[in-house]
Amino acid sequence: MTDILDVARRQVLDEGRGLSASQVLDCLNLPDDRLKDLLALAHDVRMRWCGPEVEVEGIVSLKTGGCPEDCHFCSQSGTFQSPVRSVWLNIPELVEAAKETAKTGATEFCIVAAVRGPDERLMKQVREGVAAINAAVDINIACSLGMLTQEQVDELAAMGVHRYNHNLETARSHFPNVVTTHSWEERWDTLRMVKDAGMEVCCGGIIGMGETREQRAEFAGQLAELEPDEVPLNFLTPRPGTPFADRPLVEGAEALKTIGAFRLALPRTILRYAGGRELTLGDFGTREGMLGGINAVIVGNYLTTLGRPAEQDLELLTELEMPIKALSKTL
């Protein structure tokens, strides 16, 4: 029987063709004693097709809490008894957050709002925020504002928003177990509009929401079909008050297998460490993932939870001799 890693070495490393969903599943089903081989190959693929640079990003919540959607992992949903209260960030605070992010060496700053989609109040805040950041800081601006209309897509593109994040979160077949107030297809439609408008597409999800390995592989295949510029990989951190509050953390080895397998499905994509890595992988596992296909990080804090200190990630990149990607304003 042909070994999946031998197949991947030819197909992905040599030819740059990502693994299919069924091939990703073969990787996820590898025994733990093959994990090192999987990560080593994923690292080779990343170095061959993406290079050694690491893209560093900071994120901030412009509008926190009070969201009408029921994403079962999210402490910002207004439909659960979560301790997170609603709050808006003002423009000076937003600019300060962008400055803090730029000081870490980051080239990306993502403005996030907990909404189904932006209303006029939010679009106005984003418009003013983007202009104020551009006047004060040299950094690429990304946004994550939920589902968009075509007019909103066009306006964000015209503002110079460089990348738009909208996560599919999980496999299409598992999505109804995670969100019931909107559909996977509605998210997909926003992503297609963003892509067609020429903005870079950032689309990933959360591992550990009760999906099977088959569904993780399905998700990788669906992301590959979308061809996003960036895939942020989160690992579930169960939040108090949410329907997923009692879910267990993903096992470290399982998380690393997922990283390696997703890299083999997406050889040219920016694969970013996002939330949950600190608890799921710890310091040692974080290093393993950086040597197993990851080529981007969110530094510092997340939207409602804290990350490890930015310096710790930057020191790790120095130790691994992975240069931080320089700023290039292409839009």
């Binding site: 901030v60 926190t64 709050v87």
Partner: protein, 62 residues
């Protein structure tokens, strides 16, 4: 008179502890409840810090 204080993560009285799990979780989370009055605080997380504001007891930063 004895003053009741509250866990800033779960909002229950400190005396109802132990709050070991809360303390461990707080390493990666800002506070959510005012330790003096258990009001839910307005919390803003930014890339390098956080603020938590109680309408009665003011703001703390981390």
């Amino acid at each position: 008179m004895e003053t009741t204080t509250y866990c800033d993560r779960c909002g229950r009285p400190d005396a109802d502890g132990p709050h070991d799990a809360c303390r461990a979780a707080r390493a990666m989370e800002p506070p959510r409840y005012c330790p003096a009055c258990r009001r839910r605080m307005i919390v803003q997380v930014t890339p390098l810090g956080w603020t938590a504001r109680c309408s009665e007891h003011g703001e703390t930063r981390g």
